[in-house]
């Protein structure tokens, strides 16, 4: 699994940080930051749920 984020789209709802804190963080303004673009398998569910709830469609899964 490879993850991409689109910071200009992010609206700082913070849900990805709650669902996959090992993968997503926020900068000082609450905008999404990637901690890793290749999360461990145990975090894949949290990443998928983050993609599903992100209100701004700012997170994408990319095929390798």
């Amino acid at each position: 699994m490879r993850v991409e984020v689109d910071q200009p789209k992010c609206v700082a709802s913070g849900q990805c940080v709650l669902m996959a804190p090992e993968v997503f963080d926020q900068d000082d303004d609450g905008i999404v930051e990637l901690l890793t673009d290749r999360p461990e398998a145990e975090h894949h569910d949290g990443v998928r749920e983050s993609v599903a709830v992100c209100p701004a469609a700012a997170i994408r899964l990319v095929a390798d």
Partner: protein, 409 residues
């Protein structure tokens, strides 16, 4: 297809629709019927126009996330909630009613304090506020109105601390917010209440600029306004938005959520007896889904022709999103009319969806988690002190809830 003239609207269902007597937690039955039979259909609203009503969970998410849908109430075709909100929307605009890129620019000026780590750092203060209010309730006479003694003070105290608003002024901002969110308020009443609040915040910003503190209004005054990134009036209007949204919504979730749990004692017991933060967090999401207190419909206007659910919404058509019924969509949630705090409710749309989704949601989550995790374990015998049938619900409110909740223990 642009049937927006009043005379073509006759015969359409009227929106908003009434809830069924005796079922105050459930959306209006007519919304269930529309969702099942014609999920994208026209309704008639107060001014005689006929915007579209969107009722399915997948349609709500697709359209609220679509940049061809505008939140700008000054565009022709926008379906206003009432004469009051129409007058107010024309008098002032915050990022809530703007489209990108200006929406994003202004919203980002106030997102910092709502980042997850920042609101987590507030959790001990929220816990202390909750504990102190419960101590005071337990030491005082009973029965007591939970709204006045607890549900309203908790979020008011928290948002005051975050913004830097003196809590001593709560009567002024609570009273004017109540007028602003009441659907039956006249245009003059809404505009006057919002002006009072804006003037109040404007004065506070002037004070903060001279003597800044560790709060959001000080940041707006000394950085954003001082550097010309926003005007002081924009900062004041943003402050009003955060202050009003910060206390009115969470207060209703606390009181109505408590009532829903008292009526579902098995669910209340699960919550009271758990020490697992994940169970508490899940319960908060489920109560947000089940109650969906922002029940007056999110309002938008189409910028282009958009095909959805077999219908074509034309450019210039108004669109109303009935998120309260989207959260009861059986395609999205199994057995949706049952309150089940153990379900995974995280895909609810109680905070909206798209770029305008609630800015304060991380703070609301922490407040509700602390409240639901503390109130029922500290007062395990908490009970309604009046007949359920005697309670008055905010049918006329932009935000739903109970006016009073007399409780005893």
């Amino acid at each position: 297809m642009t049937e927006t003239l009043a005379d073509t609207a006759a015969g359409l269902p009227e929106h908003p629709m009434p809830r069924a007597a005796g079922c105050p937690f459930d959306p209006p039955p007519a919304l269930h019927a529309l969702q099942a039979d014609s999920p994208v259909s026209r309704v008639r609203i107060w001014d005689g126009t006929s915007p579209w009503l969107i009722t399915r969970h997948d349609h709500v998410r697709a359209l609220l996330g679509d940049p061809r849908i505008s939140a700008d109430p000054t565009r022709p075709g926008y379906p206003h909630r009432s004469a009051g909100t129409k007058a107010n929307d024309q008098a002032r605009q915050t990022f809530l009613t703007m489209d990108d890129p200006e929406h994003a620019r202004l919203r980002r000026m106030v997102t910092a304090p709502f980042a997850i780590k920042k609101v987590e750092a507030l959790r001990p203060s929220v816990q202390k506020i909750v504990d102190d209010l419960i101590d005071a309730m337990l030491a005082g006479p009973k029965p007591v109105d939970l709204v006045e003694a607890f549900a309203l003070p908790v979020p008011s105290l928290v948002i005051c601390e975050l913004l830097g608003v003196p809590y001593e002024d709560h009567d002024l901002f609570q009273r004017n917010t109540r007028v602003a969110v009441r659907r039956t308020s006249t245009a003059e009443e809404v505009v006057a209440a919002m002006q009072t609040l804006t003037d109040y915040l404007d004065d506070l910003l002037t004070v903060k600029r001279a003597r800044p503190g560790d709060d959001l209004l000080s940041v707006l005054a000394t950085e954003r306004v001082a550097k010309g990134e926003m005007t002081q009036r924009q900062a004041a209007e943003t402050g009003v938005l955060l202050l009003a949204a910060g206390h009115e919504t969470t207060a209703n979730m606390i009181a109505l959520g408590t009532l829903a749990l008292l009526r579902n004692p098995d669910q209340l017991a699960l919550l009271r007896d758990t020490e697992d933060p994940k169970v508490v967090a899940g319960a908060v999401e489920e109560l947000l889904r089940y109650l969906n207190i922002t029940h007056s419909g999110r309002r938008r206007v189409a910028l282009a022709d958009i095909e959805v659910g077999g219908e074509v919404i034309r450019a210039g058509d108004g669109v109303i999103f009935a998120n309260e019924i989207a959260n009861r969509d059986p395609e999205a949630f199994s057995d949706p009319d049952r309150l089940d705090i153990t379900r995974d409710a995280r895909r609810h749309v109680a905070f909206g969806y798209g770029v305008h989704q609630c800015l304060g949601q991380p703070l609301a989550r922490v407040e509700l988690q602390v409240v639901y995790n503390t109130l029922y374990s500290r007062i395990p015998t908490l009970a309604l002190a009046t007949d359920f049938d005697q309670l008055e619900f905010k049918h006329d409110g932009i935000v739903y809830g109970v006016y009073e909740l007399p409780v005893t223990w």
